[in-house]
Each structure stands twice: as C-alpha cells, then as structure tokens.
Symmetry: C2
Subunit: 331 residues, 2 copies
C-alpha cells in the first residue's frame, strides 16, 4: 500500500475528542509577540509558547491524550515509554495526574537531572546499558509482566491528536487578533506535533500553511516531503537540537505531513541559539535548542516565507544552564 | 489629614473600568505552577507570570490605563514620563499603540540597551545629566511647551487601577483551579501593583491576603505597615533589585496598602537570584531580580506564610544576560 493511501492517522474529530479529554488539565499557552521580533523578521511574528506547558514541552498534551483514552481497567495497570527527554516527562506527569503507575526506560548515561526529574514526576525509571542491553526486550518483558500499555512518542493516532490540540488554540488565538492566513512553522522531529497541528488547522484555519522546521543536516522530513517518499537521516548525532532528531518520519505522521504540510525549512545550530537568545530578550521565555528552530526560521529565513504574518511554535524549554549560557553569549 | 482618612486612590469600580479600557490590548498572562516548586515551598505555589506581559512587565497595564483614560484632545498632544526602566517601556509602548507621541526623560548614564529599547518602542528619549541638571525642570518645561500629560509610575489612581487588573485575572484564574483562599505575594516598589491587586482581590477574592515583598534593607513598605506611618529607605542603591526600590510608599498607594495588605516580607539578593533560577528551570520564564522577590518569598519564607496555597507575582523579566547568568550559576 502506498503511504498516500494510508487512512488518516488522526482526524479533526480525533483532535476535538482529545481536546475534550484534555480540558483544563492542559495549559492554554499564550500566543506572544514583540515589535522587536517583527523588525528582525520583516513581518508580523506570533509565537505559540508551548515551552510554558506542563513539564516544559508540548509532550504533556500527547501523553495526556493517550493515557486518558485508555480503558480504565487497562489504564490502572500503568503505562510504559522509552525516552530520556520531553516525552518521558510528559508521560510521567500525565500518568501521575491520572493516578496510575508509569515506567520510563532510559539509557543509563542519560543526564542525571533528567533521570531525577522523571522520577520526581512520579515515574519508575528503569536504566539500561546502551552498549550491552536491548531496551525493547527490557520494555517488552516489563510490559508483558505488568500489563503496561506502551505510549509511543509520535506514531500513535491519540498522541498525534493530543499534540493537535495546540493547533485548535492557534486557530482561535490568531483569529482573535484578526489573523486567518499565515505560515505556521513547527519544530519537527517524528512529526507528531507538526501533523497534529496540520490536521487541526486544515479544518479551523484553512488559510494557514504548516511547515516543518528541522536542524540543518537532520532534515529527514523536509527531504521526504520533497522526494515523495520516506527519507532517513544519515546520522542521529552532532546537533544541539537533539530533542527533535529522529531517524525518519513516522508511518502514521508521514502521510499527514505529505498531504497537509508545505515545504520544510532548516536552520543551523547557531541560528537556534540566536533564536533562544531573542526569546529570552524579547519574549521572556526559555526555549531549548530543538524548541527554538521554528522561531529561528521565522526570524532568519524571511526569504523562504510567504505572507505578512508567520506563526512559530516554541515547542519546549527543557535546556540545561550551560547550553542556555551559550545562547545568552550570542547577545 | 491623617493618611488613613485619605479617600481610596482607586476603587474596584476604577479597576473594572480600567479592565474595560485594556480589553484585549493587554495580555491575560498565565497562572503557572510546577510540582518541583510546590516541593520547595512545602505548599501549592501558583505563579502569575506578568513578565510575559507586553514590554516584559506589568507596567504596560498602568500605562495603558492612564493613557486610554485621557480626553482624546489632551491625549493627542502626547505624554511624558520619568524612568529608565520598566515604566519607560510601558509608557512608550502604550503611547505608540494609541498613536500619540511620548517623551521619556532618562539619565544619560542609563544602560544603552534600555535607551535603545525605549526609542525603538516609539518614544522620544531625552537624556539629562544627573549631576548637573534637574530632570523635573526639564520635564516640566517640555510638558508645558507641548501640552504633554505626565504619566506617573505609581502614585496615580488610573495607574493603580490598571495594575489592579492583574488582580481580577488572579481571582478568576485561581477560582478556576478551586482556589479562593491564599496569600498573594507581590513584588513591591512604590506600591502601585500591590495596592491595585489588593483592591481587586478585596472585592473578588476576599479570602486572599495580599502581602508586599521587598529586598532586604529596602523595606520601606514593610516598615511603614508595621509602624503605621510612612517610612523611608535609608539608601536607594546597593541591591540588584533596583527596579522595585523607591524612596517611600506613595501618598495614594500607602493608604490602600495600609488598609488592605498584610505584613510585608523581605528576601536577600541571593534568594532573588535563586528564584530566577527556579523560574528558568521549572517555569521556563525569565524573571528580573526585582520581579523575582515574591517568588523568592514563596519558596524561601515558608515559615512566615499561612495556608496551603501561595500565589506569587513575577512582575517583570527585563534583565540583562550577565545578571541572568549570575542566576543560572546558582543551579
């Protein structure tokens, strides 16, 4: 079956259902702006500050969506996820809020702070040795033994629908400012956030076009959209934007991206750091490198954008002080 | 006339009228939280992130309130303010949004970035030599010549009412979380924000108690509340929390503070820096030192607080990278 014939992984009805489940448990993050950023970009820039979401990234939405949709009897046994980053914290938080156990499988060389944070959010963290152990085997065994449900980071219809609730808010918040046409730039890893927002906006703001933004050299989605087939990254290391680097677009996200999203954009690590510095200076929010690539494209890829308004996601703010200091040094 | 007999500088009707004028021109800033901050404080902590307001501080509210209330013929001639800080940017922005000129009188040794920012927001910046010139004489002459209206930083009923709109939002946002009783900690300089919020909450959330927070050694408001008369600071320099250091409470703000606000709290500069670091790490927002004192009190003055919920304002985020780096070094 050609990927273009795959049924939609998430429909607008799925996004609406996710929004109903999320309710007020998830923050309605603000749509920010600054005349100073408009000046740099040469057009109006609106910034959806999803770094202000619970756990510091949009991942809390997808995790809540997936966990809240489980049958209560299944949910009660708990959930499991593989992640050392934002997805881990989103799942740990959402599980704790639902009063159910969560197991997060992390490499033993993950930063101590991330391990500690995930534990503090209520998760049981299971560490594995990247060199000598198979994380899937460990996870599968635990899941089978305890009846845990796997929460995938992006290639899951309910996760995509949860991330898509961000798009419902963007449509409403932009319309309140009189904006119905814009390019919407989204930090893109596996494509869950990008495709979810695209599904929401195709229905609620059809005058908007969603464009994925990736780190230069790790642009599997941009290349996949350009070639018409799933392309892989040559390497998975070597960028400070590690939070949004994945091997390739997902089997569920790719058809949505392909059908709904415009050409991809890429930015350098230095541009991501500069965007973090501008977010600090002009918006007073903390962005992580991978969470700043869309703002970087809005500010520094003016020639590749169309229209008089651009909307950029800041998708997360979980950055350590040393990396943030590197961004501040750009000022 | 005893200050206690002074008629209220701003009533709840004034705050409501200001809110109607502000409309959607002012951001409804989010009420944030983090389980990690609850853990430090030993109680639930809700943070009103007014650093996300236009121009990076609550001052945009009071400036908009004052300027929007002027007779159109008077407003058209323009406004004037004395400030090198957040008030300058608030007035410059609000005037530009109203399409009227603004003159900001600043000392010639003010940081270049603040001068540039205020100009970029549309103001005419007039510099004076602190040692040899009288800023009031310069301002009075310009105001008389051009028919400019002075916008005071805090001792003005319309400014107080504008800042008080923050309190209307706090009451609504807290009620949505089921919170109707709490201590509300407010970063306090001249008392415009503190007294305005107190007026709003006395009407909308009478179970809440507003408490001013000041830098240690610059606690004119706390001492005034304790003694029952206006007390002055011995010095105006020597704290990194310079944005909230004023000689003494205002003639209009003091009676409101005295009637409505609980005992004051003080924190050290290091505690303000630690609170900035926690706001970075757990909330993903940028706080300036003076804007972080209320959060510092919420986190590090647990023994002086009552109840199971504390609400803390972050009043501004206009901090230079070097000072922010000092805060990050606390982590």
């Amino acid at each position: 079956m050609n990927v273009h014939d795959t049924p939609p992984a998430a429909s607008i009805a799925d996004v609406e259902a996710a929004a109903a489940r999320l309710g007020t448990h998830i923050r309605r993050t603000p749509l920010l702006s600054s005349p100073f950023l408009d000046e740099i970009a040469g057009r109006r820039v609106l910034i959806k500050a999803e770094c202000l979401q619970h756990t510091g990234s949009f991942k809390a939405r997808g995790a809540w969506s997936a966990i809240s949709a489980l049958d209560p009897g299944v949910r009660q046994k708990g959930v499991i996820a593989f992640s050392s980053g934002n997805h881990a914290q989103g799942v740990a938080w959402a599980a704790a809020q639902h009063g159910v156990p969560s197991v997060i499988i992390m490499p033993s060389d993950a930063p101590a702070l991330k391990i500690a944070n995930t534990r503090a959010l209520g998760a049981e963290v299971v560490l594995y040795d990247r060199a000598n152990e198979d994380r899937d085997a460990i996870g599968d065994a635990m899941a089978a033994e305890r009846g845990l449900t796997l929460v995938k980071p992006f290639d899951d219809a309910r996760v995509i629908a949860g991330q898509g609730t961000t798009g419902l808010e963007i449509a409403e918040q932009a319309a309140a400012l009189g904006v119905t046409e814009a390019e919407v730039l989204v930090c893109c890893g596996g494509g869950g956030l990008t495709s979810g927002i695209a599904v929401a906006l195709a229905d609620r703001a059809p005058g908007m076009r969603v464009r994925p933004v990736e780190p230069m050299g790790f642009d599997d989605v941009a290349r996949s959209l350009a070639s018409g087939g799933i392309e892989r990254n040559a390497s998975l290391t070597g960028s400070i934007c590690d939070a949004i680097i994945t091997p390739q677009p997902g089997n569920l996200t790719y058809p949505l991206l392909s059908r709904l999203c415009g050409p991809g954009l890429t930015v350098t690590d230095d541009e991501a750091l500069q965007a973090m510095a501008q977010a600090f200076l002009r918006l007073k929010v903390v962005a992580e490198p991978g969470g700043a690539v869309a703002l970087a494209a809005a500010l520094y890829r003016a020639e590749a954008l169309e229209g008089d308004t651009v909307i950029a996601l800041i998708s997360g703010g979980n950055v350590d002080p040393a990396m943030f200091a590197r961004a501040l040094a750009m000022l």
